[in-house]
């Protein structure tokens, strides 16, 4: 590696391009050679340390002297995450959903992990963030971020709903009521004043929807006086519901089924998390 070069005596590689460009065959600088050597050594070390050479016999490979595997690295990373979560999860285990809700730090933790759970298990019907989903009959599954609850919006009621599932029930009235009666009832309900027509009591609607038409959460009958609709809230839509009922066993009936999640589908802790998560959508009600 000499520093002085007689300009005319250094040979070139012999190849000339663009009229006058050629490559001298000088030694690269010392630091560069050093870098090259170190890199080469590094390669060998790396090759030996990590699993590298596939062996043709038996589909195995050279395991590397370092004993590194992707799965152990992943497990190690996961255990770090688990450790962070562990202290929350341990607390959650023996707490009621209501107690979790009372603890702001736990609530924050639960709403964050609940998002994933909800996305995986609930959003298919209830939509991301509980906005509800629609099919050709209208709303397919209830909106979860308003404060109208068929079975109650307290944390315990929500928890119970997720655990055991729900099944709506309303008889089909097509054969029991005349067209005119259905029309009167539908108009009264659409106006939000079901009790304005005597038919409401006479025809037995009150048995399920209550004297005041506000529904009974114990049996999941809808509140007919508020502005949130489970099914189509237009006069036509209401007529359809009265005629065909809900889960009434007839071919045209409306369908409203929520599966149970306790047991095989979700763990107890997960259900608790979901209950709090859903409660925090904005419609949760105090006990």
């Amino acid at each position: 590696m000499s520093d002085k070069h007689d300009a005319s005596s250094v040979p070139t590689t012999g190849h000339v391009w663009d009229d006058d460009l050629g490559d001298y065959i000088n030694q690269p600088p010392k630091w560069w050679m050093l870098g090259l050597t170190v890199s080469a050594i590094w390669c060998v070390v790396y090759f030996l340390y990590y699993p590298s050479i596939p062996l043709s016999n038996g589909g195995t490979w050279f395991k590397g002297v370092g004993g590194w595997t992707a799965i152990t690295e992943m497990e190690a990373d996961k255990s770090v995450v688990d450790e962070v979560r562990g202290k929350y999860e341990a607390k959650l285990k023996d707490m009621t959903p209501a107690a979790i809700l009372a603890d702001s730090e736990l609530t924050e933790y639960v709403t964050r992990s609940g998002k994933v759970l909800f996305g995986d298990n609930c959003a298919a019907c209830h939509g991301q963030n509980g906005v509800g989903t629609h099919d050709k009959f209208g709303l397919f599954a209830p909106i979860l971020n308003d404060d109208d609850w068929l079975y109650g919006g307290t944390i315990d009621a929500i928890h119970e709903t997720i655990q055991g599932g729900r099944q709506g029930m309303m008889m089909a009235h097509a054969d029991m009521l005349s067209e005119a009666e259905i029309d009167t009832l539908a108009n009264a309900v659409a106006a939000g004043k079901p009790t304005s027509t005597p038919l409401f009591a006479e025809k037995g609607c009150t048995a399920c929807h209550g004297e005041d038409g506000k529904g009974m959460q114990a049996m999941g009958s809808a509140n007919l006086t508020d502005s949130v609709w489970r099914f189509d809230g237009s006069v036509e839509g209401i007529k359809y519901t009265i005629k065909n009922g809900v889960n009434a066993g007839t071919p045209d009936t409306r369908v409203a089924v929520m599966p149970a999640f306790q047991g095989s589908k979700l763990s107890d802790a997960e259900i608790k998390k979901l209950a709090v998560y859903v409660y925090k959508f904005g419609g949760g009600q105090a006990q």
């Binding site: 520093d3 300009a7 630091w31 502005s227």
Partner: protein, 476 residues
Amino acid sequence: MNQEVGKKEPGEVTTLYNEFETWTVNTGGQTIHAKRMPGFFRSFKDKAQLAMWLPFFLVPYLRWNGSQAILFDIQHRQFKFFGLTVLPQDIWMLSLVLLVAAMTLFAVTSVASRVWCGYFCFQTAWTDWFTWLEDKIEGNPTARRKLDVAPWTFDKIKKKLIKHTLWMLIALLTGISFSIWFVDAFEYWHDLIHLQLPTVGWVVIVMFFLGTYILAGFLREQTCFWLCPYARIQGVMTDNQTILPTYDYTRGEPRGKIRRGGEAVAPQGDCIDCFQCVQVCPTGVDIRNGQQLGCITCGLCIDACDVVMDKINKPRGLIRYASLDELSGKPAKKIYQHPRTLVYLSIILLALVGIVWGLTHMGAMTLKIVHERQPLFVQMSDGSIQNKFDFKVLNKTDKDFRVKVTAEGGVKGLVIIGAEQHPMTHHGRGTSFTIFARAPAANVEKDVVPIQFRVESLDDAKVFAEYTSKFYGPNK
């Protein structure tokens, strides 16, 4: 020199180098043993280096209110600057600081070439200190060259041992000094002495030790030649107006040895070809070949040449800070006629304004609000419209406190739900909570109205933050 190149006929591979019989490329094959000569630039360089880097060693020990005055506390994710604590959220100001630094480098370089390289760069400074030690221990360059090829006698071993030990001590101190900008200085020393540093601490100190020892002890000017990007970047910052150490070839050429007593045979320039300028150059450059990549513009050759000129009774300044314009006889332009510099200066100014604004507007609390996108709003059972907002509050004070949430604007009859318990915010940390805003449907007249939220500490009404978001309703 450049004109000469132009005159050559193209077509030959070696055309580029035709003006030299030999051309030199310093690839580190030979250690450069530069002579140390006193002079203006020598002492300026000494002082500049110290002024720049002494604080690097000492400032971490400075205390302020019982803790380290300046600390880049990576572990706790904050930057302490005397009484001020900057959290990562305000770190954007750091980018402006870096911008100021970069632009200052550019501006200075456009005016006076590689001032950074010559007088301030750590590579220059450490190399200079290392060679100073070398000079003290092994003697002047001639002695050093001799020693390098001498057989390994006891004397040689002793000298080399002392030198390398001192180098390593400096390198070690460098590593320690770097580290203590990031962790408490005294705790670090304690941990170091008890060998209790965390792994990353050892890695850093070993890296800096090796880096300093190798870069300043062995690679030296090679770093500037082949490793450092600033050498190239700064190279393109200069132009004809930039002043840099220049050999006045019209005055110096043709160069030749002075003949004592006798008359010069041919007309002779002022350069007596004594090679003093080359011998003092820390990068081994011959400045008489023109400005070049290897020159870090340290001015040491100016000192050397001036001494020679004094001796032969010629005016000083055969090598001097001069611009290409000056050398080619063009009138020198004023600094305000240098657009490049002006652009750099205005960028510096803007960045400074940004930093000052940032520091004065940092506030004790920041508030970010994300309006829920899905759904934009919800109709409640009584017909009212509800919007959901995710609040992120950052408490930048040094105390935990509870906050209250209020809103202005939005819709008539708006109620804020969710902050009844006055959420707790922890200092130095972000806290998030959900707030609902609900308004009677009859009052919601437009689909979007601005709403200004205010989060205020319950303890101190002066600690607050505001954020303007939107309240959505049905399309009417």
